[in-house]
């Protein structure tokens, strides 16, 4: 199984590139989870289902309303985010005073419902979504499809844009303050519940955005989020729960680690992330970028 010697440098570059592309998805998804966990202390198990919804909304927009990819890229996250806001307002809100566990269980249940409903309506074979950017470039060591290049760029822009907003703007400082002392921030006249609602909506919208990005690459299928969510959890835990930068960097890094595993020990490529996670948690319990609370 181990073919260390048989791998050419060209091949290695190619695999690193592919790892980076997958990492781009992990980064956007884990960023959303980290934002939500940071402010709401909720492990959003629905994230995978919301990612799937993003892809489906894009598909429905195209097939039913004729909205092209670029329109969907804006509209779908807004729609998915709006659904998230409804969930937060009607259900999640009632659980904030309880153990984190209940938030996780509620969102787990919601994930089952959403996935089940989409299965009932669309089956599981998946729906095709046309590639908006066909063609590609030969990089010498590999053929890079234009669309995958776009995924990396879009992901980088969104991730670091979010990071900037949270770390470098006034709004971001309110958010961070509300994470630490919601009561104090409320006392300063800031509408913390509204902020929480919008944050959840934003985190969910990020999942929807990743879903739209994924639609042309993978089949748009109700199952697309179910297995991904566990991996993305692992990414967030490794990065340090609630750490924005940690989620982003770890997302890319683990994409690459996974890519390399696919070359050297492909059978283990679904498991390697969990091995990394176990090691990290044992050595550095708060995660690579986390600070123990």
């Amino acid at each position: 199984m181990l073919e260390l010697i048989g791998v050419s440098p060209q091949m290695l570059f190619g695999q690193l590139m592919l790892g980076l592309i997958n990492g781009a998805f992990y980064a956007v998804l884990s960023l959303g989870l980290a934002v939500i966990f940071g402010l709401l202390n909720v492990i959003n198990f629905t994230h995978g289902a919301q990612y799937m919804m993003g892809a489906f909304v894009a598909y429905i927009l195209l097939v039913v309303f004729g909205v092209p990819y670029w329109g969907a890229l804006v509209l779908a996250p807004v729609i998915v985010g709006a659904v998230g806001i409804v969930i937060e307002r009607t259900m999640l809100r009632r659980l904030y005073h309880l153990d984190h566990l209940y938030g996780l269980l509620l969102t787990f249940g919601l994930a089952l419902i959403i996935e089940g409903l989409f299965r009932a309506r669309y089956g599981v074979s998946g729906q095709p979504y046309p590639n908006p950017l066909p063609g590609g470039t030969n990089l010498g060591f590999m053929f890079l499809p234009t669309y995958r290049g776009w995924v990396v760029v879009a992901s980088l822009v969104v991730c670091f844009g979010t990071w900037l907003v949270i770390e470098r703007t006034k709004l971001g400082s309110y958010l961070r303050a509300a994470t630490e002392r919601p009561d104090l921030v409320q006392a300063f006249g800031i509408n913390v519940p509204l902020m929480i609602t919008l944050t959840y909506g934003f985190g969910v919208a990020l999942a929807g955005f990743a879903g739209v990005l994924a639609a042309p690459i993978y089949q748009v299928s109700p199952l697309m989020g179910a297995n991904l969510i566990i991996v993305v959890f692992a990414v967030v835990v490794i990065g340090g729960m609630g750490s924005i930068l940690g989620a982003i960097v770890t997302g890319y890094a683990l994409g690459i680690v996974e890519g390399l595993t696919k070359v050297f020990y492909p059978e283990a490529s679904n498991t390697v992330i969990f091995v990394v996670m176990a090691i990290v948690l044992l050595l550095k319990p708060a995660g690579l970028f986390g600070t123990a609370k």
Partner: protein, 363 residues
């Protein structure tokens, strides 16, 4: 069992039962509730046992066997989450792991069930010792995540290792007679064997919860720093509880392998870890009977909705959401709370024409 627990731990045992009700209930309430509830618990258990003994007359024994296996699994899980406050998201590895071990022992090594089942449970316990030693160093969500990670690694092992049969699992596990005489091949006989195993496991858990050891576990759940400051080696208690829980989960898994003649990846997948959380939650976390009721409800539901495909998923999801939002104490927990409210109302009525009536508490 009723005789054995009666005398020595009447006082300690009673507080346990009622605080099991919900961590929210105040200690004053629970002390008041203690004596009658304990009796109620015993009556409930005897009633359950009586029902279980005649159940195969009315219901399909193999279905009942399935309920019992999952009930034991959920009870083992509940020991950890309900009484120590540790949410493991990887318990499938002990359940499914033991079912592989047991299947292999029965089929390939030709061991008789009386040897294979305990051996497989102990093997799961050994796994629990290792996993627990790694995981209990972390708390809360991190604990859940470490167990999940280790369980995923075990899943990978089960997929790859030659003895597990990969995707096909270990099939056609023989139902050999126990001690050479008890014919497990007969479904009804098998049911009574499984009932005996379940009862033994259940009583062990019950006994553990109501022992001084169990009291310390609950102290850890309620306030870990305080337990430490009282001089308890908290980590050792947690590890012991984890190992015990893993062993019993293994016992359930091993029994299931014998009963269903199959050990497969389903039982080690993370969804199974989620399912046992659901069962425990629906029945009532931290209640003695909750997991049994929860397992019965979920298994029955899965059984009768099997023809409706994805609607099983939707129904399960709706149950999750409704329970979390409205009935966090679970079926048994809510029933106990209801009985408690009625009892107090009656007491209040008896005690006083003076003073206003107790408002029906919404936790």
């Amino acid at each position: 069992m009723t005789e054995s627990t009666a005398s020595p731990s009447a006082a300690t045992g009673s507080t346990a039962t009622s605080s099991a009700n919900s961590s929210a209930s105040s200690s004053a309430e629970s002390r008041a509730a203690s004596a009658p509830l304990l009796t109620a618990g015993r009556i409930a258990f005897l009633a359950f046992l009586a029902l279980a003994l005649v159940a195969p007359l009315f219901l399909y024994p193999v279905f009942l066997v399935k309920v019992l296996c999952f009930a034991l699994f959920a009870c083992a899980f509940n020991l950890l989450v309900g009484y120590v406050g540790l949410l493991s998201f990887g318990h499938a590895m002990f359940f499914g792991g033991a079912s592989y071990f047991c299947g292999h022992m029965l089929k390939v090594w030709g061991w008789p069930p009386e040897l294979a089942i305990p051996a497989a449970a102990l093997a799961a316990g050994a796994m629990g010792l290792v996993v627990g030693a790694l995981a209990i160093r972390r708390q809360g969500i991190y604990f859940a995540m470490v167990t999940l990670a280790l369980a995923q690694m075990f899943y990978f092992f089960a997929l790859q290792a030659p003895f597990t049969g990969g995707e096909d699992g270990i099939q056609a596990i023989p139902r050999t007679p126990i001690l050479g005489v008890i014919e497990t091949a007969n479904d009804t006989t098998l049911y009574y064997v499984v009932l005996a195993i379940f009862t033994a496991g259940f009583l062990l858990i019950y006994r553990t919860i109501h022992s001084p050891f169990g009291q310390v576990l609950k102290a850890i759940r309620e306030n870990e720093p305080r337990a430490i400051s009282l001089g308890y080696a908290v980590d050792r208690y947690k590890l012991l509880a984890f190992t015990l829980s893993a062993t019993l989960a293994g016992l359930a898994g091993a029994t299931k392998a014998l009963a269903f003649q199959l050990a497969s990846l389903t039982d080690v997948a993370w969804q199974m870890s989620g399912e046992v959380v659901l069962m425990t939650l629906v029945g009532g976390m931290g209640t003695v009977f909750g997991p049994v009721v929860g397992a019965a409800v979920i298994v029955t539901m899965q059984n009768y909705l099997a023809g409706f495909g994805e609607w099983v998923l939707v129904t399960q999801g709706v149950i999750f959401v409704v329970v979390v939002l409205l009935f966090r104490r679970g079926i048994v927990g809510e029933a106990m709370a209801f009985a408690e409210r009625r009892r107090r109302r009656r007491e209040d009525a008896d005690a006083a024409a003076a003073g206003e009536p107790e408002p029906a508490a919404t936790h």
